[in-house]
């Protein structure tokens, strides 16, 4: 039996059918079922039978796992047989299953008990025969037909097999075996077995149900375990997220309620648990008004697909400030309008972005103004950020927190009121501003600062100023120096402009000389008269002495004037000299509403000459052009100043005006003294200018423009040929007179 049964158990489904051996004895030869009715039947023992059924029923209720064994024991006890058991139809030869390919023996009582777990094929065996014929059969030595039963010891003298059914289908058999002839099965055995078969059916169904339940339970437990594992993993992850407080988590409804939120979220928006518990917190209220429209898209996504794409928005904190966040989330399945959202605080990123932007802005402003300090001032929070350069300008230790109180300690006392007014206006105004103020450092030195501030709005829509501050102390000092130089030059220009100089020399010297000569002549005549007019002559002599002294003083004064600067022969960059003149006369030109346009040639070679005298010429030409346009009202008062290289290694400068111009026949007389088309001045500027240019071996001329106005030009060689005897009027007029008169 073992050897037969074991290989069978290992067979797969396709090999479960056993081929019918050639020469096997026919079924009829092993059947003796009719004997049952012929044999004398023993009397039924109903008491015993009832007792057994009650035990079976209670066993089924108490210990279903052993019911088959209890059934086998009961069969053996009631039928007084040698072995009793069940055969169940299975697919795999082991588990109870309807419409299987084999029978297996789940429980055996008596002598065959060691064979529990064995079985027989469905298509070729006693159990199959019983199911095929659908009735109780009595076999005698069935091993004669079914050789696989030969090794199953002891051999079955007789075997009574009864089928049992579930829902009309045969699912197995119960059987009782006599291994000897000491007793034969009879009609009473047949009746009892049929009764037990019905019980077996119930037991089988109960067991199958229990098995199914077990399977279901197992599967459910397994599923539950998986879910639990999954859940615990997920939970752990979520818990880590929640506890890390990196991510804010909110359970919400589409309608705007916040059902629950973690600590991170509460911190983000600066609410507390009480706010949450009170139900006061609504995400719709946390959303700034201008962001609400943006929420419509994710809500539509939520309704449509249950999730929404993460997006950036802002939440209002309890105090009204804003926190930038990244938001993602999903609706709970089957929960209708509830969902969970995950919120990431972007403040740090935004701060970093902002500080980057700020530093860029610093840079831009810095480049605009040159080497400067810069600051940002967030008006709402009072947060002031300074660049290192600004700390250096203010001479504070880099990094100390900047406050207006601190700044105030440096502002010049005289500028303090102005400063505070500016701060107040800036805080309320939100406009760009520029201003200048002074600092007084601890050592009482003064710094001049110039500030340019731009008003911007930051992430929260809050007013923020980004400003550049330049220390213009050096510039201010140089401006002062320049102003001084300007006034000096202006003095020189008016007092010592060559024309004025020549005129004043001649005038100043010749006036007293004229007096001297006249008085001398008068004196001579008075003394020669008859009688001589002594009193008159003395008076003329007194005047003569006075005038002589006066002439002497004039010479001394003029000499002093000349000594103040020597007429030089130097290398002059005419472009640079011209720019200086324009810078100096810009105020006057602007006052006369003259537009100056410069077209200065690149790489203009330097000329040799007297820079100041040449500048005097340029100044005279500028004034001349400007004044010629003073009556012009119907067109721009445009003055075009141009430098060029001229033929023969010369440099040309021209000044083109849009003024009244001159008559062609007057071109020659323009440069004469006293020729003027103007109401003011004596018209000696052009004459003087021509003298200067000629002393530089150059030429000065005027042309009438095609359009309105005229163009005055001069052209001078880059190199002087030799030191000419100076034909400079000023020197000629001054120096010899000085010698003669001093």
């Amino acid at each position: 039996m073992e050897s037969m049964a074991e290989p069978d158990k290992s067979r797969n489904d396709s090999s479960l059918e056993t081929p019918i051996p050639v020469g096997a004895v026919p079924l009829e030869s092993i059947l003796c079922t009719e004997e049952l009715s012929r044999r004398p039947s023993r009397p039924p023992d109903y008491q015993k039978e009832n007792h057994a059924l009650v035990e079976l029923t209670s066993a089924l209720a108490d210990s279903p796992s052993t019911i088959f064994q209890t059934l086998a024991d009961t069969i053996q006890e009631i039928t007084q047989c040698d072995s009793a058991g069940l055969s169940l139809l299975t697919k795999d030869g082991k588990s109870p299953h309807v419409e299987g390919k084999r029978f297996y023996w789940p429980a055996i009582a008596g002598m065959w008990n060691p064979h529990v777990g064995g079985g027989t094929p469905r298509n070729f065996g006693p159990c199959g025969d019983v199911l095929d014929q659908n009735r109780t059969l009595l076999f005698s030595h069935f091993e004669r037909r079914y050789p696989y039963l030969v090794p199953v010891n002891p051999a079955a003298e007789e075997c009574l097999l009864v089928p049992f059914y579930v829902a009309g289908n045969a699912v197995g058999t119960i059987w009782a075996i006599m291994h000897t002839g000491r007793r034969k099965f009879d009609g009473e055995d047949n009746r009892v077995m049929a009764s037990l078969g019905k019980f077996a059916s119930s037991a089988y169904q109960a067991l199958v149900h229990i098995e199914n339940l077990k399977v279901q339970v197992t599967e459910r437990e397994k599923a539950e375990a998986e879910v639990r594992e999954l859940a615990s993993g997920l939970e752990a992850k979520v818990r880590r997220l929640v506890e890390a407080n990196v991510v804010g988590i909110v359970i919400f409804t589409l309608e705007g309620a916040i059902i629950d939120a973690n600590e991170a979220f509460l911190q983000m928006v600066q609410y507390d648990r009480d706010d949450l518990a009170s139900g006061r917190m609504r995400w719709t209220d946390l959303t700034p008004a201008e962001c609400r429209d943006r929420d419509e898209r994710p809500i539509a996504e939520l309704k449509a697909s249950g999730v929404f794409q993460p997006f950036e928005k802002e939440y209002l904190r309890k105090d009204g400030t804003r926190v930038p966040v990244l938001l993602g989330g999903t609706l709970f399945e089957g929960a209708g309008n509830e969902g969970v959202a995950f919120i990431l605080d972007l403040s740090e990123q935004k701060r970093a972005e902002r500080s980057l932007r700020r530093s860029e802005a610093f840079l831009v402003e810095g480049q605009r103004l040159g080497q400067i300090g810069s600051y940002s001032w967030r008006v709402a929070t009072g947060e002031i950020t300074w660049s290192e350069q600004l700390y250096r300008i203010y001479e504070f230790e880099i990094g100390v927190p900047v406050t207006f109180d601190l700044i105030r300690t440096r502002v010049h006392p005289d500028d303090l009121t102005l400063y505070e007014k500016m701060v107040e206006q800036a805080a309320n105004g939100g406009k760009d501003f520029e201003w200048q103020y002074r600092l007084m450092m601890p050592d009482r030195s003064i710094k001049h600062l110039q500030a340019v501030a731009r008003a911007t709005r930051d992430q929260d829509g809050q007013l923020e100023y980004i400003a550049a501050i330049q220390d213009v102390t050096a510039r201010r000092l140089s401006e002062e120096a320049r102003d001084k130089a300007t006034s000096e030059l202006a003095h020189v220009a008016s007092m010592m402009s060559l024309g004025t100089l020549a005129a004043s020399i001649a005038h100043e010297v010749n006036q007293p000389l004229a007096g001297i000569v006249t008085n001398a002549a008068t004196c001579q005549r008075m003394l020669a008269a008859t009688p001589p007019n002594i009193d008159g002559a003395l008076e003329t002599v007194r005047r003569t002495i006075r005038d002589a002294n006066r002439a002497s003083q004039v010479i001394t004064r003029l000499r002093a004037l000349f000594n103040r600067r020597q007429i030089a022969t130097e290398s002059v960059d005419l472009n640079e000299a011209t720019r200086e003149v324009i810078a100096l006369s810009l105020n006057g030109l602007q006052r006369n509403e003259v537009l100056v346009r410069l077209e200065l040639a690149d790489n203009l070679p330097p000329v040799t000459g007297d820079r100041i005298l040449l500048q005097q010429v340029v100044l005279n030409l500028l004034r001349n052009g400007s004044e010629a346009m003073s009556a012009v009202h119907d067109r721009p008062r445009l003055l075009l100043i141009r430098t060029d290289r001229d033929e023969g290694d010369r440099v040309r400068l021209s000044v083109k005006d849009a003024g009244v111009g001159f008559e062609p026949q007057a071109a020659d007389s323009l440069f004469e003294n006293f020729h003027t088309t103007k109401n003011e001045g004596m018209g000696i500027g052009l004459s003087v200018s021509r003298s200067i240019i000629e002393s530089h071996q150059g030429r000065l001329w005027a042309e009438k423009n095609d359009g309105p106005g005229s163009t005055f030009s001069f052209s001078i060689p880059c190199r002087r040929e030799a030191d000419l005897p100076s034909n400079d009027t000023a020197l000629v007029a001054c120096a010899p007179s000085g010698r003669d008169t001093a």
């Binding site: 010297v509 000389l513 005047r543 003294n673």
Partner: protein
Amino acid sequence: MISAENQRQSIIDAPRGEVHPSVVRSEDTRIAIERPLVSIVDDDESVRESLPDLLREFGFAARAFSSAEEFLASGSVAETSCLILDIAMPGMSGPELQLELGRRRQAIPIVFITGQGDETIRTRLLKQGAAGLLLKPFSDSALLAAIKTALRVS
């Protein structure tokens, strides 16, 4: 320069007293009426002080004014037989006064005197009707010659 000028002008110096030998004292206004009035307009005080004395030595009546405006306002314009006029003055210049007198149809011969200038100026002013031009300093004889010429022209 000065001495050269003096020498050059002294050559043409006129004999003194030739025009009005009887004139002795210039203060006498009754006599002055009969004498031609020479007016002087110059901003320089030395000239205003010295020139009238010399002119009176020559036998003219003389009045000095410190500006063109003062002269125009003085009431002496019509009486003036000859005007000795400085060119460069604050306010109205000598040439401008010449134009103004032309406008007023006051044909007074003018001898310009100037502390600075050259031949081109002389030519131009003479072309415009000036009787003469003297560069300061000028000699007494040059002055007398110029005045004589001016009076002859008128």
